[in-house]
Symmetry: C2
Subunit: 255 residues, 2 copies
């Protein structure tokens, strides 16, 4: 048995999200189907680091699976594309330690949220950005997001219905930059609550167009109230950009 | 009668191209359908500046049409989106002089071609870029493309079957830049032959990965032979970015 780690990119537009579910097409299902075809192993299961929602994209989802097949680890990235739809690609594959776990051992994650800020919506980038028609003040948004940095109880940022008990997380960096009509939020932390980045993005939209007074994030972290924050921004603007691990490096791929 | 000019953005992935044709879905058809619904005018026809091919995108296609309806010219851009699919948007609409012609009066056009240069194809940008797996030398490509600048007979850059007689065009600027995994060609001229930018892009791929010796463009402009150039690069990498006119400005919209 070897444990293989893969870095997977997908356009989430056509999927019900990462996680396999009945009566809906998930990225996990497509990936497992392709791996089962390739290896001939019917009981092959893939564990993903992040259970991204419907419409959310990943530039670097990280996954692991176990296999007894004889395919060299680095060859999965070259063999899988032919078995996958064009909106799911494998950027890298390599063997890792048998105790590596894509979800539990993730140390640091980076997310990006892209706003398309123009009076008219984008045709070309409609699935990769969220349209905001009101002019956004990206400098006000950048100042606002700095309140996220540090270790806080982010309970007001958790979508209702979330089952997590410990809502304390550490945010290492957060910033907002404009590039023409695109306004881009980048945030890095040791973990994120369900919908946390989308609630942050929605809050920044409201602060950026003056619907919400600046200081909203600091107020919410004191009041612990979801009501101090903005809407949950649409899934299509969100991309999982990177995941770092401590013991996730490649090991020798002895077959 | 008023003549209206519109600036139209589209993701060309799902279309057979700009131009209306039997048994295929075109951008022109979708736009005419929406305008006919909006105005109630069954004989409304749209003239587009560029007959972009299947899979080619436009950030700024320019069109004109005539109407007797009472809708203020600037309101078309706000009313049409609800009648159009999400991959066609209208960025602006305004009244122009009655003798404005979107195709014949175009003075200057800018095209962009995006290469995704990585060992593995992109899932997220698959429809907005052309995948090149071999490492591209963007500086060599940038030096090469400078040979396009000026007034030349670009006959070797015209796809066979093209009906144009005068193949002389003026290129005002051309350049290649890298932005991470993206390598971006930008070219501006007074007009382009059919497939000219895609043949240029294919030639630059071959120069950029060493398949074709540098100086290919200069050689082709002397030999007048298509054989001195590279392949025709895929449609998906190409976007019509901008069109300039001399007398295309808005005029007072008296109803």
């Amino acid at each position: 048995m070897r444990r293989i780690r893969m870095i997977v990119e997908y356009d989430g537009t056509a999927y019900s999200g990462w996680q396999r579910q009945a009566n809906a097409v998930s990225v996990q299902e497509k990936l497992e189907e392709a791996l089962r075809k390739l290896t001939g192993e019917k009981e092959l299961f893939v564990v993903g680091a992040s259970r991204t929602d419907a419409g959310v994209h990943a530039f670097s989802q990280n996954v692991h699976f176990d296999t007894n097949c004889r395919i060299p680890a680095d060859k999965f990235a070259y063999a899988l594309p032919a078995l996958l739809p064009e909106d799911i690609r494998v950027r890298a594959s390599f063997r890792v330690r048998d105790d590596f776990h894509a979800r539990f051992h993730a140390k640091r994650k980076q997310y990006r949220y892209v706003f398309y800020n123009s009076p008219h919506a984008s045709a070309m980038y409609r699935n990769l950005s969220a349209h905001v028609m009101y002019p956004l003040d990206e400098e006000a948004m950048n100042r606002e997001v700095k309140s996220m940095i540090g270790t806080h109880d982010f309970a007001p940022f958790a979508a209702s219905g979330s089952e997590v008990k410990d809502t304390t997380r550490t945010i290492y960096s957060a910033g907002v930059k404009r590039d023409g009509d695109f306004v881009v939020l980048t945030v890095e932390g040791n973990g994120f609550l369900y919908n946390m980045v989308r609630i942050l993005a929605g809050t920044l939209i409201h602060v950026g167009c003056g619907k919400l007074e600046k200081g909203a994030i600091a107020r919410a972290l004191t009041s612990m109230s979801r009501l101090d924050l903005g809407v949950t921004a649409p899934a299509r603007g969100l991309t999982l950009m990177r995941i770092d691990y401590e013991n996730g490096d490649a090991v020798e791929d002895v077959l």
